[in-house]
């Protein structure tokens, strides 16, 4: 029993980060209609920057329990990259999807080397803060409190995004733009500004996601291009453009991966792709897609 709950918690922990990245992917796809391959690279960037920021903060005498704030701050600070990257993408909004996909692939290649240049090729680790908040005993296993913090943060972001999209003026504009870009523009929406903000928000979701998970592991060069595949699985399962779909998809992928690793390690990624292909076969638009998404 404890083993099962331990397994599920591990899966949900991974799902929380996955949700953040996938939510960014969905948001950008909804408004800009671009499938952003680089969202995994944002995640990796957030992870590396988060480690550096926490190390610098600890060296400067910031008390260890505040590292969570530093991590989130580092993720948010990377938001400055949003507007210039969006400006680059803006040149091809009216082109074929193939070009859009390839331009984000170009970003993947470039960001991978930016990370290699700044932080090197060796794994980069943030030791010593993971257990600062202590552990909870659950029967025979103990689980770091930090895992719950990340899961809570993921849920909080989900709720916050839901609120922003459903209730605020900005959210209404975003939804209107996703629905019908031309009409929204005709009604006076400043498309350049909305695109820039939405893209930055999507980027920050990815960087914060990367920053949040990193105390539990090590940052490696390939983490971005590996995560993008999982994020794709999430949005295919959940349905392109759907926030609720991202949440459910992330939980499915996260838990499935954890279970597969425990039960039959060979099937780790295999299990995820089988689900993806199954969903595409029986619910081609995903579990939560709106019509004509």
């Amino acid at each position: 029993m404890t083993q099962v709950s331990n397994l599920l918690l591990g899966g949900v922990f991974h799902a929380a980060a996955l949700f953040l990245v996938a939510a960014g992917l969905q948001l950008v796809f909804g408004v800009q209609k671009i499938l952003n391959l680089a969202c995994g690279s944002f995640y990796a960037l957030g992870a590396y920057a988060g480690i550096s920021a926490v190390k610098a903060a600890l060296a400067a005498g910031v008390p260890a329990p505040l590292f969570l704030v530093v991590l989130i701050g580092a993720g948010l600070a990377l938001g400055v990259l949003g507007p210039p990257i969006e400006r680059l993408l803006r040149t091809i909004y009216d082109r074929d999807e193939a070009f859009q996909l390839l331009l984000t692939f170009a970003l993947v290649l470039m960001l991978e080397d930016v990370i290699r240049f700044v932080w090197g090729a060796a794994p980069y680790q943030l030791g010593g803060v993971y257990l600062v908040y202590g552990q909870v005993r659950l029967g025979a296993v103990s689980i770091p409190v930090y895992n719950f913090v990340v899961i809570g943060a993921g849920l909080a972001v989900a709720a916050g995004m839901g609120f922003v999209l459903a209730r605020t003026r900005f959210g209404r504009i975003v939804r209107a733009t996703a629905e019908n870009r031309g009409m929204a523009e005709a009604l006076g929406v400043d498309m350049a500004r909305v695109s820039s903000r939405v893209f930055t928000l999507g980027l920050v979701l990815g960087t914060v996601g990367g920053a949040l998970v990193i105390p539990a592991g090590a940052a490696v060069n390939e983490m971005g291009i590996e995560l993008i595949v999982e994020a794709f699985a999430v949005v295919v399962i959940g349905g392109l453009g759907s926030m609720r779909g991202a949440l459910v998809g992330a939980v499915i992928v996260g838990v499935l991966k954890a279970v597969a690793i425990a039960v039959y390690p060979e099937a780790e990624m295999l299990a995820i792709y089988v689900i993806v292909i199954g969903v595409l076969l029986f619910r081609p638009a995903g579990l939560f897609a709106r019509a004509a998404a």
């Binding site: 070009f99 331009l103 290649l109 392109l240 081609p284």
Partner: protein
């Protein structure tokens, strides 16, 4: 006529490379032949039919692994047998995969092909007994048309008999593809690309023709995959990774997918540019990302678009 002459000139120049005495550049031509063949397939799918696959590396890997498996597990040395087996296996794999994928178009097609590619990647990576896991499967020197060339050292073999074998295969593959693109099938595929609804309306069975294109693309991809693994002597999982598919699409766009010879030009420039950039900096991905971004934004018709515009003007 001028085009034919230009083509003959290029072919003669390519055939003369091994005599230049610069063996290193001759070995760089080997992946060029391999990618040219693989990209013929990808271009049939994208340039002709309008379906962007982000999983073409799947079939390149199927080809490479089939050849390596034949060499290592079954002790088969004949390259012809390897090619035959590779294209057969690729076609068999492409039947269910293509049947599923061609139900979708645009971004969904891209995502689904990527998912299948990664499915195969994790299969290669995890099923150690069959695929060698992360170490892959080594492939020894295959015999060409029944001759082993055991008396030659590795480089002489590669830039000698193997070079011309690859070149000949690339030429044959190009001729076959030329014929396909100009057949009624090719015409139907182009009609589908331009307007699938209208094509359906005038009697083109859209899904079936897309499926044919998919299987043909897989066959060319696998043949390219065989040519690709022989010089490196190894079939390894990165062959199937999604970034490899991304690089294939990169080459296609770099050369220009609207032109029949665009993909070959793209492969050539990609390989030699990569070689040059890597000798200057280890951060070649950054340079390539910048090049790709520039091509996407400023040269949507690729290098071939630039060349032919000059020629037409």
């Amino acid at each position: 006529m001028t085009r034919l002459l230009a083509l003959a000139g290029v072919l003669a120049a390519v055939a003369a490379v091994p005599f230049s005495g610069r063996d290193y550049y001759a070995t760089l031509m080997l992946p060029f032949f391999a990618y040219s063949v693989a990209l013929l397939g990808l271009n049939l799918l994208f340039g002709t039919t309008g379906l962007l696959s982000f999983g073409h590396a799947l079939f390149v890997a199927v080809g490479g692994y089939t050849a390596a498996f034949l060499a290592s597990a079954l002790q088969i040395r004949s390259l012809e047998a390897m090619l035959l087996a590779a294209v057969t296996v690729a076609a068999i794999v492409a039947l269910p995969v293509g049947w599923l994928c061609v139900r979708y178009v645009k971004i969904y097609f891209g995502m689904l092909t990527l998912a299948f590619g990664m499915l195969f990647y994790s299969f290669l990576y995890k099923f150690y007994a069959l695929t060698g896991g992360d170490e892959g499967i080594p492939i020894g020197r295959p015999s060409l048309l029944g001759r082993g060339f055991g008396e030659l050292d590795k480089t002489t073999y590669l830039i000698g008999p193997y070079y011309y074998y690859s070149l000949a295969l690339a030429v044959v593959a190009t001729l076959v593809m030329w014929r396909i693109v100009r057949s009624p099938l090719g015409l139907s595929l182009r009609a589908i690309r331009e307007n699938a609804d209208k094509a359906e309306y005038v009697g083109v069975r859209v899904r079936r023709y897309r499926f044919y294109a998919f299987v043909l693309a897989a066959v060319f991809g696998a043949a390219g995959g065989v040519l690709l693994v022989v010089p490196t002597g190894l079939a390894a999982p990165p062959l199937a990774y999604w970034t490899h598919s991304g690089n294939l699409v990169f080459m296609l766009l770099l050369g220009g997918f609207g032109h029949f010879f665009g993909p070959a030009l793209g492969a050539f420039v990609f390989i030699f540019l990569q070689d040059q950039v890597m000798s200057v900096t280890e951060y070649w991905r950054f340079v390539f990302g910048a090049v790709l971004a520039a091509v996407v934004i400023f040269l949507p018709h690729g290098l071939m678009g630039v060349l032919t515009r000059r020629a037409d003007a």
